[in-house]
Amino acid sequence: MLKYLFYLLVFPGFLFASVFGLIVGWIERKVSARVQFRVGPPFFQNFYDVFKLWGKEIILIKNSPYFIFIIAPIIAFASVIMTTTIVGMSFFYHVGIGGDLIFIIYLMFIYSVCLILGSSSTGNVYSSIGAGREMKMLISDELAFVMVILVPIIQAGYKIDLTQILAYQNANGMIIGTASGIIAFIVGIICLQAKMGMVPFDIAEAETEIVGGPLMEYSGPLLAFWKLAHYMMYVFLPMLLVILFCGGMSFASFGSIIAGIGKYLLIVVIMILIRNTNPRVRIDTAINFFWKWASPLALIAVILAIIGV
């Protein structure tokens, strides 16, 4: 029991994910800055930002259901911690709980639902448009993402546990090496971009169009929750891809640890580069893209996986 509490609160969970998430957030800002010929923020910048938000005022809106407004970021934050714990457990300790992939899909769903609930509770026009766009994004990328996850499940012999997928990869080589694996991995990276709300799919939070969208009315500690949750997604989403397609990380030797971290960082940097070399797409283009290109591509990967290529 104590062990699981440790998992949840300290190592792959809350403490580690916050600190590591903020560091990855710094990497994101730094790499973006370097791409744009800038120096970029200092190392502790995200820590300062989040800490500062804790000292600011929370502004609640009169005549709005502000219980939802307050509770939404907290639930979202909790669900993100849980997801990170589960993914981190299989990433670092190779222990899992039964059927954790299904659990992860639903927890990530909760995050989006909280974002929609919290922003639409304010009654602000921009927030409501942001909520609407977030919902449309959810509809468009969810199918592709689930099918991407199906590929390793099928290849590992219809196992929905992360640990079993890892064990399969240890025995038979990485899934990314197969034809279905590489297709699913590429679609998976695009889905990650959408899940993270990064350019080109930051349609829901488009700052120059709808002023930060869902987060517009949040201030102070509640905003800090959203920011932290957002940075934590940097931790577990690439990790999940590493586990599903690239064989995870093993502590067998020093070299394998470096390889594991390298795989993780590579995916992060690919995401950041995609972010920095594309403009934001329109919501209809995004839906078109996911339903006409990404989902069929993922479906092909699933079919290939079933025939065993």
Binding site: S32, F37, R38, Y126, S128, D202, T208, R280, R282, I283
Partner: protein, 405 residues
């Protein structure tokens, strides 16, 4: 689907200036759009009641910080038009050089902001990086990064230092190379194309009917360019007017990139001419005779129009200013309806609106109001009397004695 009203502004990150658009949408589709102006209205009328011709050039410079050469350019044209003042050749080249460098910096600014609006921050940062050397050239030539204060009636206020020419050439080469790169990137990038191509089309008929001008009209296939049509200084220079047919945001972007390249060529011609042409840079004009004058100039955003009526005193009687955005902004009605919200915003931005210009000063002076002068005169007399009383309560100063006599 129910209608929803989106107030865009007055403080919105898309608009650097305060402006208010009332957009009505169904879902994401724009069905109606209404603009409310007046947030930036400063009204130079009262200010300029005390401004002379030379001072009003500096005043019109502060109509807008981005095109701060275009307004003085047109205003001096208007003043020179009254008396047909001859401008020294060197001054003409300096004027063209300053005007073209400003066009480069303004177009680069728009390119960057357009990138920012569609979430392409890398494009923003890159173009603004290329813009920085241009501002440094301005600092070297005129002493300030913006608001150059170079214009006078009959010439320019300071000479161009020929020693700067070797420093400027590399910047121009760099700009030309990078602009070709951006034009190529815009052609190749599928996401950028999908975002801009066919968006917010302004047809040629609409452009003519709304009296649009500048890049907005040229991107819709209307072949107007004041630099070529009005002549004056630009008769010295060879350049092409770029006209594109489609009228969408993509064409406006490409047009501005091509215009930068054209401006680089014009600036090079000026630089080549500077060592050959010496002589005076200012033909001093002491008096402007009664009459009317119209001056215009092709600002980065379109035609700047100045009308000055003089009654022979040192102040204009009426000074009418029309900035390009004033004609270009109303075209949003023709190009924005029926398109998605995300597109509407970039379409609004695509005319490169300058609200400060739109709500500019209107009239500079009233000279018929004799009463005001009378008041001022009595007021100043009273003031002097009061000062006299206060200062020289007991003793009389030497000045007082003069007054007594």
């Amino acid at each position: 689907m129910s209608k929803c009203r989106i107030p865009l502004g007055p403080f919105h990150p898309l608009l650097e200036e305060a402006e208010f658009f009332d957009i009505k949408v169904e879902g994401e589709k724009v069905v109606d759009i209404e603009m409310e102006t007046g947030w930036m209205h400063r009204g130079h009328e009262k200010i300029s009641e005390t401004r002379s011709y030379t001072q009003s050039i500096f005043l019109v410079e502060r109509i807008c910080g981005i095109c701060s050469t275009s307004h003085p350019f047109a205003a001096t044209h208007a003043m020179e038009d009254i008396d047909n003042v001859e401008i020294p050749e060197r001054a003409q080249y300096i004027r063209i050089f300053i005007g073209e460098m400003e066009r480069i910096h303004s177009h680069l600014l728009w390119l960057g902001l357009a990138g920012h609006f569609i979430g392409y921050d890398t494009l923003w940062m890159w173009t603004w990086k290329y813009r920085e050397p241009v501002l440094q050239i301005f600092e070297k030539v005129s002493g300030n990064r913006n608001h150059y204060a170079m214009f006078r009636v009959g010439g320019v206020s300071r000479d161009f230092d020929n020693a700067l020419i070797p420093e400027i050439h590399p910047v121009l080469d760099m700009l030309e190379k990078k602009m070709l790169m951006i034009a190529g990137a815009a052609k190749d990038d599928p996401v950028l194309r999908s975002r801009l191509k066919g968006v917010g089309v302004l047809t040629k008929e609409d452009a003519i009917n709304y009296c649009a001008n500048g890049p907005t009209a040229r991107a819709s296939g209307v072949d107007i360019d004041v630099r070529r049509d009005d002549g004056l200084e630009y008769n010295l220079i060879n350049f092409d007017v770029i006209v594109l047919p489609n009228g969408d945001v993509y064409d406006k972007l490409v047009l501005r990139v091509l215009e930068i390249i054209e401006s680089v060529k014009i600036a090079r011609q000026c630089l080549d001419a500077f060592p050959k042409i010496g002589g005076d840079y200012l033909n001093k004009v002491k008096h402007i005779s009664p009459g009317e004058g119209i001056g215009r100039y092709e600002a980065p955003r379109g035609e700047v129009f100045h009308y000055i009526r003089s009654d022979g005193s040192n102040r204009p009687l009426r000074h009418k200013i029309r900035a390009p955005s004033f004609s270009n902004i109303p075209t949003y009605k023709a190009s924005c309806l029926g398109i998605p919200l995300a597109d509407a915003l970039i379409t609004l931005a695509a005319v490169d609106p300058c609200y400060c210009c739109t709500e500019r000063s209107i009239r500079v002076v009233d000279k018929n109001n004799k009463k005001l002068e009378h008041n001022l005169l009595t007021m100043s007399r009273e003031k002097t009397a009061n000062i006299k009383k206060a200062v020289a309560g007991s003793e009389k100063t030497p000045i007082d004695r003069i007054f007594e006599d």
